[in-house]
Symmetry: C2
DNA sequence: AATATAAGTAAGTGATTACTTATGAAAAAA
DNA sequence: TTTTTTCATAAGTAATCACTTACTTATATT
């Protein structure tokens, strides 16, 4: 195998991890299987990541930059809150569908190993999402788009069920999910709640 | 170890499994650790369950009888739909809190081993829950308690996020959950949705 | 009391796990 | 060109996994 520097190898390893999880399941994510997938020796993996868990943590960091930060950018845009909320929902739903429930699988990994570091990371991501949505909803209330009688915390909790539900149904091999209309339907439903509270 | 018949041992084994999952995590659920917890030899486990997976499947069956069937009984009671809905939510939330997110942990097990039988079982339980709620909401619409403009499927999906969220937050060691008021708050929020759609 | 059966154990099985060590070779720096 | 550093590998490591085997013992039935 031709030599490559650590950065390139780290990218390859992370990509291979996601492929294995999506196609074979978490239990098949052994360092042996991982090395085989890339075409490297098993030992080489440990040159680029000190521990197997560090690969998972690096992937979680990628979720932060690929999904959370993009949602954050939209949340700060100069546009009406309802437009921003819709865009944020789209980013999240598209990311989940593109990555086939990868974040809930990472949750499963955290639950499986009862790993407090991993649990904390997942918890932080969920909290960040909540905070972003909370701010946009508050902003929509000041813009007088939505009722000022709504309990923002309750509504955000209700909202969070949508992506989590989607993740779980993807993992459980749900058929017949109309991906195209999903975002619009959920946004319409959620708008009603925000207006009519 | 004194001899006991299979029924008693099966109960002991199932209880020990739940204790290990709750206190040590799924990864510590080895047949060795399980036997040690009960005070039996490892081989004795396999006299009472053919495979380790069969223990998990038996526990899922218990979830059905302990939670789903009780919800079903309430759903069929002769009472206004809103009263029934509230009682069902309470049964579910109490069960989740009492069993510390056990069903989402079983979901994690299914996801981890990519086990189609287990996945199917979890999916069936979620589907059954949805069906029960759907019927009660429809009943509430005929009783003219709630708006007939609501899309029942969407609302049920939104509802399902509540228990799933609760499960996940329990696994991720959320602090400061006001368990007492949780049910009432969520029911109030959900009632508004059903009335104002 | 003799016998059959169910429930128990100790000590394995091979497979797999994450990770290490010793060694060598390619690439980069001197 | 020589030296140094980085990356790769083959071949380990001890630990753990679900599960089995061979055998023993308690209990229920005849």
């Amino acid at each position: 195998m031709k030599k490559q520097n650590t950065e390139i190898r780290q990218q390859q390893i992370k990509r291979a991890v996601l492929e294995i999880i999506a196609s074979e399941g978490l239990a098949q994510l052994s360092t042996r299987n991982l090395a085989k997938k890339i075409g490297l020796s098993e030992g080489a993996i440990f040159r680029h990541f000190k521990r197997k868990q560090d690969i998972i943590l690096a992937i979680i960091q990628d979720i932060r930059t690929d999904m959370l930060e993009r949602m954050c950018v939209v949340a700060r845009q100069d546009a009406p809150a309802d437009k921003r909320l819709f865009k944020m929902m789209c980013i999240q739903v598209k990311y989940i569908l593109k990555n086939e429930g990868i974040n809930i699988l990472l949750f499963s990994e955290a639950a499986h190993y009862n790993d407090s570091v991993l649990k904390r990371e997942i918890h932080d991501i969920l909290s960040s999402q909540k905070k972003i949505f909370k701010d946009v909803i508050k902003s929509g209330i000041s813009e007088e788009l939505w009722s000022d009688r709504i309990n923002v915390d309750d509504v955000v909790m209700l909202y969070m069920g949508i992506p989590i539900n989607l993740n779980i149904e993807l993992v459980l091999n749900r058929k017949g999910l109309k991906t195209e209309s999903f975002c619009k339907r959920m946004f319409a439903l959620f708008s009603n709640i925000l207006i009519n509270q």
